[in-house]
Symmetry: C2
Subunit: 288 residues, 2 copies
């Protein structure tokens, strides 16, 4: 219960920061398209993780807000571009029409570009003494060895046979990288020593993998047409998911194992890590 309150408190602070975010010089239409996708009621998991990691390291969450906001802006940009007709061609997200449905494809492409660029601009405007290092962590996670690697592998292997090494690489890039950067960047901002930053990295990587496996499981279990089918080849045919590679039962076990390792990684932080421990454990029981 206490963890839920902590999470909500982080989320509210971040939501307020995002809502008040200065967007000086942006033409009205661009600002509108950016805000449409940025302020759409997401869980703010990436941003909240960064604030939590910063406080875990003894830092001031207030000063970390621009970096938490940057995580959310990068996440929002990736969803806008993912949803484009040339990509996943999704018309709905979180119960609302996707960005390109509302603003047209050209403006959606620009709004995505703008959210990525503005995320960097917000971080580059910070006067935090460790801003440069934190910015580096976040942009590497979003980069060609992180999120963009995962998205490319996803796009270029559409319709491929489910392959465990490939799916692992996609999950690492698309999901785990962007759940790891909040940990490392938050701890760096707090001035944590490198062993602790690496412990945070390990937590984030395992949390990310568990999170994506659970996502894949919910996709199947949430779909009545697929309910109960537990053989790999029956699960979301043609989709590169973890259950499609190893089956539902093994996927559940793998998610549990990742959560165990995520929790283990928190050992150096002792009692103070209660929030991140609870958050990891709740991943196994979350709803879509």
């Amino acid at each position: 219960m206490k963890e839920k309150e902590t999470l909500n408190a982080y989320k509210e602070r971040l939501e307020r920061f995002l809502s008040d975010l200065p967007m000086a010089g942006a033409p009205d239409k661009l600002r509108e398209a950016m805000r449409y996708s940025l302020l759409n009621g997401g869980k703010r998991l990436r941003g909240c993780l960064l604030l939590a990691a910063c406080e875990l390291g003894g830092g001031d969450a207030e000063q970390a807000l621009p970096f938490a906001a940057a995580m959310e802006m990068i996440h929002a940009y990736s969803l806008i571009h993912d949803d484009l007709p040339a990509m996943d061609n999704d018309t709905m997200r979180r119960g609302k029409p996707t960005n390109h449905v509302v603003f047209g494809e050209a403006l959606a492409i620009l709004a995505g570009d703008a959210l990525l660029t503005h995320a960097v601009e917000i971080m580059a405007s910070s006067r935090h003494p460790r801003a440069f290092a934190a910015l580096g962590e976040i942009i590497r996670a979003a980069g060609i060895g992180g999120m963009l690697a995962g998205q490319t592998l996803d796009v270029t292997n559409e319709g491929a046979e489910p392959d465990i090494a490939l799916v692992r690489d996609i999950h690492r890039g698309k999901t785990a990288a962007m759940l790891t950067a909040p940990l490392t960047a938050g701890l760096i901002l707090a001035g944590a020593e490198s062993e602790r930053v690496e412990a945070g990295r390990k937590y984030g990587q395992h949390l990310g993998m568990a999170f994506q496996i659970v996502d894949d499981l919910l996709d199947v279990e949430g779909d009545p047409a697929l309910m109960g089918k537990t053989l790999g080849k029956d699960i979301e045919a043609g989709k590169l998911t973890w259950p499609a590679c190893v089956g539902m039962e093994q996927a559940r076990l793998d998610a549990q194992e990742h959560i165990r390792q995520a929790v283990d990684a928190l050992a150096p932080f002792g009692e103070k890590a209660g929030f991140l421990r609870a958050l990891a454990l709740s991943t196994l029981h979350r709803e879509q």
Copy 2:
């Protein structure tokens, strides 16, 4: 002649740096799509300007190479996204098929995203003591108050009546911002005092406006079908260009005036600014 040699020397160093650019972790297809557009024989004006500005300020051009490369990567990303079917729908650029024609739309979107992200990653990996400030200058130029503002105004005003205030805002964003950042970032890297950085900014802004007006003029004069038509309304009907607003003759005069002001701005640098002075003057006599 001497200026031409200096320009070629900058260009060669930059070309080598770009060709050897590490792209660790990028899937092969993504790297291929990024390099296709990055290494396509561009003039490298933005990167060379940054190296020249750094040396003008007494800095070491070698250490400025990642920032010059970042300018070119951001320029390349903007062209890939501009060429997309949802934007300008261009199929050829510099005599070669555009990125999306070769790699498909999905990969072209990702390659553009990746060039922008990697530009930031390259700058964020620099150990230059003023890297953070230079990164800020460059990303603001590419941002919602700079290049992306210009692109948005261009996209959202397609088919609008040529209007001098609107065209000025588009040129400022799409062209001048990205020709100004090399000056300010290069001088910042050199540790130049703020009056000199601002002199560089003024030079870049006027150079950028002149450059775009000459571009507009070449577009008209290079098209035999339009040759000799000098009335605003006859010039590139429906296109938001400077000559379309003020006519060919006035546009030529305006370009000359911008160049005069660009050269004036170099006064604080005295003799050392010979290269940038010559480069500005050559803008009036360039070919497409």
